[in-house]
């Protein structure tokens, strides 16, 4: 049972952060289908830092540098979306898909080249080992092994909720996603706001990426990317109706099912049931599809999302 809670916390941390990222981007009017790719970049940068840091680095240095690297990598890669979709009016779905492919290919190439160079041409794998870094994030509280990642995620969630409802900035951001021409008419820079939205999503998804690969594992094969976590977060975001607190609840729901597929072997009752682990894997997707079917009639999606901003349009 302890394991179930542990996995649920980790998965919800990932889903909350990445879904919040998606939310900020969509609220500003840009559909960020490249979350998956941004996560891969964030994960790779974070893992690289953990591998490269010297053995005697303190826990604090490891934690802060890893998070910073992941966040920066996420923000930089999100610029690829921002530039194409905001300045060049590119098709947002296409660019998102391209970024996902780009990220997996780039991460594989970079990690393989890194391994080859480090091992003098004996290791061609796309795998990174970061046991030391993984351990630095661990602490125990009341008998349950927890990770600093979860604390970081909880903090960011609180910040996001406050920011989303209480600041002028977020109000302006949301205006740009609903009716950019009206926002521009009262002096808000639509391009600026959309850049801000996409970069925030890069920041959050980058951190989400490193949590996904490092909180429960101490090695990662980069040829798998992040195995659909980014897409799952998009579902969480829609399920959460583009609102931070609802996103948090739906992320936890998704995370429970996701963890069940990982740990059901250890739970006597579930193991006795004649259900294969794959079924638990399918569950989140089936549930979200059904829930979407019942809730999408009055969807609260930002009105202007997916439409390139055109100043002259009425």
């Amino acid at each position: 049972m302890g394991l179930l809670i542990q996995y649920t916390l980790i998965f919800s941390a990932v889903l909350i952060l990445v879904a919040l990222g998606g939310m900020f981007s969509e609220r500003s009017g840009i559909i960020n289908l490249g979350l998956e790719g941004i996560m891969v970049f964030g994960a790779m940068a974070g893992a690289m830092v953990m591998v490269l840091l010297p053995d005697d680095a303190s826990k604090f240095t490891i934690i802060s540098l890893t998070l910073i690297a992941a966040a920066v990598a996420g923000m930089v890669s999100s610029l690829l979306i921002a530039v194409a979709c905001i300045n060049f009016n590119a098709d947002q779905t296409l660019i998102g898909t391209a970024l996902n492919m780009l990220a997996t290919a780039a991460a594989t190439v970079i990690v393989k080249a890194f391994n080859t160079a480090r091992s003098n041409g004996t290791d061609f794998s796309a795998k990174l080992d970061y046991v030391k870094g993984h351990d630095a994030f661990m602490f125990t509280l009341g008998g349950i092994q927890l990770s600093w990642f979860i604390v970081v995620a909880a903090l960011l969630l609180v910040i996001a909720i406050v920011m989303f409802y209480k600041t002028k900035f977020a109000l302006r951001l949301r205006a740009c996603g609903e009716h950019p021409q009206a926002a521009e008419s009262v002096g808000i820079s639509v391009y600026g706001m959309r850049y801000a939205g996409v970069i925030i999503s890069g920041f959050l998804a980058g951190i989400g990426g490193i949590i996904y690969i490092a909180a429960a594992n101490s090695t990662w094969h980069f040829d798998y990317g992040v195995a659909g976590a980014g897409f799952l977060s998009l579902a969480v975001m829609i399920f959460g109706q583009w609102k931070p607190e609802r996103i948090a609840w739906s992320a936890i729901l998704f995370a429970v099912f996701r963890s069940l597929s990982n740990v059901y072997m250890g739970i006597g009752v579930l193991q006795a049931l004649p259900i294969s682990g794959t079924v638990y894997n399918i569950m989140p997707y089936v549930i979200s599809l059904l829930v979407l079917a019942f809730t999408s009639k009055n969807s609260r999606a930002p009105k202007a999302e997916g439409i390139p901003y055109d100043k002259g349009q009425r």
Binding site: Q92, L94, T97, A106, T108, A113, Y285
Partner: protein, 382 residues
């Protein structure tokens, strides 16, 4: 407007130029990446990718054999691109193509290995499976207002896990090698001109069928009332409804046809026996490469054939790289860059329109028309 337009002003020609530009830029960037990874061997590496199977230029049988393999391997990606562009022309972004392709794999391999059906029935099963998966997506879109991109993504993963359960069955899966058994003899597709391609038995009727499918799509979209209705529904659901079309039926039909093509793609690939299915932890990339190919081909059914051949040529070219210096995924990276650049096609086009307008006879009028056309293109609902 009855005005003679120069070649450069024709939209089709501009798309062609833009796509070629994307490809060239992508290759250039690929070269730069190779250069950063290992400056000494960059030129050699790029040459290996581009020369590809022409390495065997002095041995005609080998050359034709590998040419045949490239053709066979580009069949699924071209068909996936056709599926995506068909849906795109009708206003739907069928990202669920990957899932429809996956259920196509399930149907064709299960009927081909466990049930040993005739190849024709296997193909039909694959088409039906893909169509069913497209139908589910279309149903959610039409009746529940679920965005087809999100529904498609969910269905992709559901398809993948179902695939792993069904094809993980002992009847189909060789558990020691963790890949599927060979396709049974009477389920293999009949060969087509295989002695022309150095006795490459993988060259089957799949190759000509792909070209036929592309032509049929071109015809349906541009020359039939049915195609017109689908396109009209994509442009504006409400206007189509007002004009007396059954908008919901049209949305579902678009996705059913798109899914059927994706299913066909899987059948025509796996029933050649060129590749065995392995249990995977992520959705087959074919559907996503299809998006790339569709856009690189300028969203034109015939353009997609050439784009598909090009993409497959580069991807396979990665295997000719010297693994001491580079890894084959560099080719995937190049493809991803090319797709990313495809997003800028609209921008390339506006640039191309500018100089001709300055030299042209009446500047203002023409540009206004173009802008209006571009704007309607933007307004599609995502």
């Amino acid at each position: 407007m009855e005005e003679k337009t120069s070649l450069f002003k024709k939209s089709g020609f501009q798309t062609l130029i833009a796509s070629v530009l994307c490809a060239i830029l992508g290759i250039l960037l690929g070269f730069i990446i190779l250069f950063f990874m290992n400056p000494g061997h960059a030129a050699e590496g790029m040459f290996a990718i581009l020369r590809n199977f022409f390495k065997y230029a002095n041995n005609k049988t080998n050359l034709l054999y590998y040419l045949g393999s490239t053709l066979v391997k580009s069949v699924p990606v071209v068909l996936c691109a056709e599926a995506i562009l068909f849906a795109y022309k009708t206003g739907l972004f069928n990202i669920g193509c990957a899932g429809q392709y996956t259920v196509g794999i399930i149907a064709s391999l299960y009927t081909g290995i466990a049930l040993e059906w005739n190849w024709f029935l296997c193909i039909l099963a694959a088409i039906a499976a893909g169509a069913l998966w497209g139908c589910i997506c279309g149903f959610f879109k039409a009746y529940c207002n679920v965005n087809e991109v999100i529904a498609g993504i969910m269905l992709n993963w559901i398809a993948l896990y179902i695939c792993n359960i069904i094809l993980g069955n002992k009847k189909v899966m060789n558990t020691t090698k963790s890949e599927t058994y060979n396709v049974s003899k009477n389920s293999l597709l009949p060969t087509f001109l295989s002695n022309l391609f150095g006795n490459n038995t993988y060259v089957t009727i799949a190759v000509p069928l792909t070209i036929i499918v592309a032509i049929v799509i071109l015809w349906v979209l541009n020359k039939t009332t049915f195609g017109y209705e689908l396109k009209a529904t994509g442009h504006s659901k409400d206007a189509a409804k007002y004009a007396g079309m059954n908008a919901k039926r049209n949305i579902i039909l678009s996705l059913v046809i798109s899914g059927a093509i994706a299913g066909l793609a899987a059948g025509l690939y796996y029933l050649t026996g060129i590749e065995h299915y392995k249990i995977a932890s992520s959705v087959p990339g074919m559907g996503f490469s299809g998006i790339a190919v569709a856009f690189l081909g300028g969203l034109h059914p015939i353009g997609a054939i050439f784009a598909g051949l090009f993409v497959e040529y580069i991807t396979l070219g990665g295997q000719y790289l010297n693994t001491n210096y580079y890894n084959p995924q560099v080719a995937d990276l190049m493809i991803a860059i090319i797709i990313y650049l495809c997003g800028f096609v609209l921008f390339f086009k506006t640039i191309m329109n500018k100089p001709t307008n300055k030299l042209g006879l009446k500047p203002g009028e023409d540009q206004a028309n173009k802008d209006a056309a571009d704007k309607t293109a933007h307004k599609k609902e995502v």
